[in-house]
């Protein structure tokens, strides 16, 4: 058995070997990609090659603007949007929600599915995540894009969790990505843009849409990670399905259990036991899981995602998230389940 079991891939996934090798190669070519001399042009060529490979791996035909991560990509799309208004799902990441007033948030049903309003004003930018980072719920973005487009609006899809695992939503006009959720390096992401008229330029690099020296080695790591096969996903899907059943049998609740969910994420309530107590017990047992997103896991705030789905505060405070990835093994899930059952029995007997 492994000494440490990592089941927090939705917070960040371990770097893939191929991505690491690509980065080390990139580090050796350290020139500034904007320099016109031969060293600079060599770095530029690798950067543009990475961009082309990412486009090919994703099947994306529009523009790809590199950013420092998904937060910056979302800030770019929202802060510099040329849209007449913005609407966002109530369960979006904080990076999105802090850009939109409460009145602009779209309610979700009990599984977390976004309810689009009957009428959307032309020119509106609608922001919806492809997969929720806490529950794994998949939004039917292809259908939503049609509805948004029919109203004369545009769709910004936050694909931080889904990219590399699910095909990109076809109808999205803007897509935010993060490399480190899919086995690439931390520190790079991208905004995919169908039509540059949707955002205002700012100058400098990235076709005038982002200023700052490009981090070419990170771009190479990003490309390599996206090219890695995801054959492991089928096994993970089976393990997650079995885990869902076993948790229910042991008295637990599967969050968004009736919804279509990304196979890598499972979110479970252990009735009567706080998430904090569970996390401490799991960490002592050598298993890394989390309560909600990593960004807020230090804060002990109630999850805004569960609140939007209609969960009361006390039930929501008993939910933890398990997330798997490319290096997960069946034994990891067995160990998690055994520990979950032990904590539940132990706590109940107190």
């Amino acid at each position: 058995m492994k000494s440490r079991i990592y089941l927090d891939h939705a917070a960040t996934a371990p770097l893939l070997d191929s991505a690491r090798a690509a980065m080390l190669e990139g580090f050796a070519r350290w020139a500034n990609p904007s320099s016109p001399h031969a060293s600079g042009r060599e770095a530029r060529a690798l950067l543009e090659d990475a961009r082309r490979r990412i486009a090919a791996a994703l099947g994306w035909e529009g523009h790809i603007l590199f950013t420092s991560g998904a937060s910056e990509a979302l800030a770019m799309a929202l802060g510099r949007s040329t849209a007449s208004g913005i609407l966002a799902g109530a369960t979006e990441h904080d990076a999105v929600l802090r850009h939109v007033a409460v009145a602009q948030r779209l309610a979700v049903d009990q599984d977390g599915l976004v309810r689009l309003p009957e009428t959307i004003a032309p020119g509106t930018l609608v922001v919806i995540q492809h997969v929720n980072s806490e529950t794994g719920l998949i939004q039917p973005l292809d259908a939503m894009a049609e509805q948004v487009h029919a109203a004369g609006g545009h769709l910004l899809a936050d694909c931080s969790q889904s990219a590399g695992k699910l095909a990109l939503p076809e109808g999205a006009d803007l897509i935010a990505l993060s490399a480190h959720k899919l086995g690439g390096p931390i520190g790079i992401g991208a905004l995919l843009v169908k039509d540059l008229a949707l955002i205002r330029p700012v100058g400098g690099q990235e076709q005038g849409y982002r200023a700052g020296t490009e981090a070419m080695p990170l771009a190479c790591g990003f490309a390599a990670a996206l090219e890695a096969p995801v054959a492991w996903l089928d096994a993970v899907a089976r393990w997650r399905m079995a885990l869902d059943k076993a948790i229910v049998a042991a008295g637990g609740v599967v969050v968004a259990g009736d919804g279509a969910r990304l196979p890598t994420i499972g979110s479970y309530r252990m009735p009567g036991v706080s998430a904090q107590a569970q996390l401490i017990r799991f960490d002592m047992a050598g298993i890394a899981v989390s309560a909600g997103s990593a960004c807020s896991s230090g804060s002990l705030r109630t999850s805004h995602v569960l609140a939007a789905m209609g969960w009361d505060e006390s039930a929501a405070s008993q939910v933890i998230r398990v997330s798997m990835g490319h290096d997960s093994e069946a034994g990891d899930i067995d160990a998690f389940l055994a520990q979950w059952q032990a904590i539940a029995t132990d706590m109940r007997s107190r």
Partner: protein, 368 residues
């Protein structure tokens, strides 16, 4: 290839590459509460201490960013937004990096008043002109320590003291001076790793205790809410080691730069130096020759990495705003070359490069 473009970026130090490679295995998210997350957070915090130490700062806070451009944007836009309504002026110099100039100018449409101070022919600002522009109407003085194109060192402490006397917030773009010169006594300091033999993709903003600016981006609340986004333990570790190396090797690096400078001055004795010679970081030599087509020379001297000005503007073909600001005519600016050297440049490389450059310049003259 002889690399003489240290102001664009610097070679990655082997010690930095090793630290980054090791930290790539620390895959946790630094914000995660579990052990994997704490190991990653330890990388970030160790790096923060090392960068703070290299800055010579015990107090204040250092937030990591994606680079100096982002740090400068947070500082400038943040200071403008945080300023009392009576302070709308943003004062800066005509020779600043576009990350400062363009950001300051962009504030005009938000109702601020950009004040761009001219510089003298030596590249330095006249303190009397600065004094006339800085008063109780100013929200911010943003001034760079070492110019990225001509290497001149501004009378920065004098400018900062002037701003302080009017309670004006101060920002120093210390990108080129960090790790080499003492850190100026500004309220905010922007730096980046890749100019001190660290990786691209990470920089930092230091803020004095009590200096508060609103964030530019929103997200997971990292870096005290001022800069969201998951931090890379690897990039941070690389920055930390680069800063530590720069601090440890400061004397040796500077002595080496002085030796290179002395040699370069002899090798390029019949060229004119752009900007002050004394008030200058000697790892930069920006020189010109009448009648020269420097762009052509750069493409002729294929085995030497040189530049005409900043890397960002190099592709654009527009004349350098810095050379224009020091009073060069367009034809003079066309004859200017920028060389940057430092820790890993050998004297024999400099000599070989000088021979190639001087030969190409002589050929141009012969043909003309």
């Amino acid at each position: 290839m002889i690399y003489l473009d240290y102001q664009a970026t610097t070679p990655l130090a082997p010690e930095v590459a090793a630290a980054m490679t090791a930290a790539l295995d620390h895959y946790g998210n630094p914000n995660s509460a579990h052990r994997a997350g704490r190991i990653a957070a330890a990388d970030v915090e160790l790096a923060r201490d090392r960068v703070m130490a290299a800055l010579g700062r015990k107090n204040g806070r250092l937030i990591f960013t994606s680079g100096a451009t982002e740090a400068l944007n947070i500082a400038i836009i943040g200071a403008a937004r945080a300023a009392p309504s009576g302070r709308r002026r943003i004062v800066t110099l005509a020779t600043e990096h576009p990350a400062v100039l363009d950001t300051v100018l962009s504030l005009r449409q938000a109702g601020y008043e950009p004040v761009i101070l001219p510089v003298e022919d030596d590249g330095l600002v006249d303190p009397d002109i600065a004094e006339a522009a800085i008063d109780g109407r100013a929200a911010l003085l943003a001034v760079m320590q070492v110019n990225n194109e001509i290497g001149v060192i501004q009378p920065i402490e004098q400018l900062l003291a002037l701003a302080r006397s009017w309670n004006v917030r101060t920002l120093c773009d210390a990108v080129q001076g960090f790790g080499r010169l003492p850190t100026p006594d500004a309220d905010m300091i922007a730096i980046t790793a890749h100019k001190i033999h660290g990786p691209k993709g990470v920089g930092a903003l230091w803020l004095r205790d009590g200096v508060d600016v609103p964030p530019l981006m929103h997200g997971g609340g990292q870096e005290g809410g001022l800069r969201p986004g998951t931090l890379s333990p690897s990039l941070c570790a690389g920055f930390g080691v680069a800063a530590q190396l720069a601090a440890e090797r400061r004397t040796a690096d500077l002595a080496h730069v002085e030796a290179l400078w002395a040699r370069a001055r002899i090798l390029f004795a019949d060229w004119t130096v752009n900007g002050s010679i004394d008030q200058r970081y000697h790892g930069n030599l920006n020189i010109r020759r009448a009648g020269l087509d420097a762009a052509r020379l750069v493409s002729q001297v294929r085995n030497v990495a040189l530049s005409l000005g900043s890397a960002c503007a190099s592709g654009s073909g527009r004349p350098s705003h810095v050379l224009r600001a020091i009073g060069l005519k367009e034809a003079e600016a066309r004859g200017a070359l920028r060389m940057g050297f430092g820790r890993y440049t050998r004297v024999d490389q400099l000599e070989e490069a000088a021979a190639l450059i001087n030969e190409a310049a002589a050929m141009q003259r012969a043909v003309a």
